[in-house]
């Protein structure tokens, strides 16, 4: 059964369809939250995100776009928690080199750098700034397209691409640093 059909049934009021949606998406949602936050808070924030998702579900206008809509809400829950953690926004966006983030860059390769495999990348994600980490998680771990990542993050596609480039570069530097 497709996500769209489950969403439509849930919007009609089917509890079982809603439970099937939660079953299908609980782990991806939790993994995204976990990559962004520590394990102490990941479960709480994931649960808060699900509550927000259920409250907003009746108003979802495009059931066929469930995944980016879902991660938009989950991201909001994560950012709310991060705002609580960081008093100043400068910390939240990840350091002094913010000017480079918003420069569009169309030269994005199709796959993550060959230097790191998926598992290693996951373990290294914790060291990345928040904005770079989230696009990596959404794009490579949740398999969202660049356009969907842009919708989730509320930024242009070019910004997502530049964040991906920067994230890959940082990952590569991490790996090279460890090797040397």
């Amino acid at each position: 059964m497709t996500d769209e059909l489950l969403v439509v049934r849930a919007q009609l009021g089917s509890r079982s369809a809603l439970e099937d949606l939660v079953t299908r998406w609980q782990r991806p949602v939790w993994l995204y939250v976990r990559r962004m936050l520590d394990s102490e808070r990941a479960d709480d924030v994931a649960q808060e995100a699900w509550i927000a998702v259920v409250r907003a579900l009746p108003r979802l206008r495009e059931p066929d776009r469930f995944a980016p809509w879902l991660f938009t809400i989950v991201r909001r829950a994560v950012l709310n928690r991060l705002r609580d953690q960081y008093a100043d926004r400068h910390d939240l966006v990840g350091g002094p080199d913010r000017g480079a983030f918003d420069r569009p860059d169309d030269a994005v390769p199709d796959a993550v750098d060959e230097l790191v495999d998926r598992a290693e990348m996951i373990d290294r994600l914790a060291g990345l700034p928040v904005l770079e980490r989230e696009v990596l998680v959404l794009h490579y771990l949740e398999d969202l397209s660049v356009q969907d990542c842009a919708q989730v993050c509320g930024v242009p596609s070019g910004t997502v691409k530049s964040r991906l480039n920067r994230a890959r570069r940082l990952l590569r530097e991490h790996v090279e640093g460890e090797v040397s």
Partner: protein, 161 residues
Amino acid sequence: MSNEEPRASVPEVVAGLNETLSRTGRVRAVGTFVIGLAGAVFVAALWWTEPGPLPVLTQVTFGLLMVFCLTWAGYGTWLLRTRVALFATDRVVAAWIGLAASALTGTMLVILAVQRGSGTWGPIIVAAAFMAVAITLVVRAHTHRTALLRRERTLNGKQES
């Protein structure tokens, strides 16, 4: 980190949604809004149709009652917008409850105005406005639900073919 799993199981996550999905919560939210609004309209009608000038204390009492009812209506609105999920079928039920409450409140307004001889056009216009809004909500709720049911049939057809 790569081998971690969520600590909460799916049933636990679903159980955490019970409050948002509870029927009692939805009924309470709709009831609070409808009763609060109907009460405010009814108190306003009583106040408006009182014969002769009222003592200050009575006016203050009417004012406080209005604020009380409007507060409940506002609380109901807040519940509906932020705390509970009204799905398509719930919206249909809620819209019919709103229509019934509008009809009842409108009828009482007109009866009250006739009994007190304070002019019937005002209450009739107010009642008609409430009915018009309530009927619009009923039509919209049914249209939305019908569209979803149509979409569900289409998707079921695609899945089977």
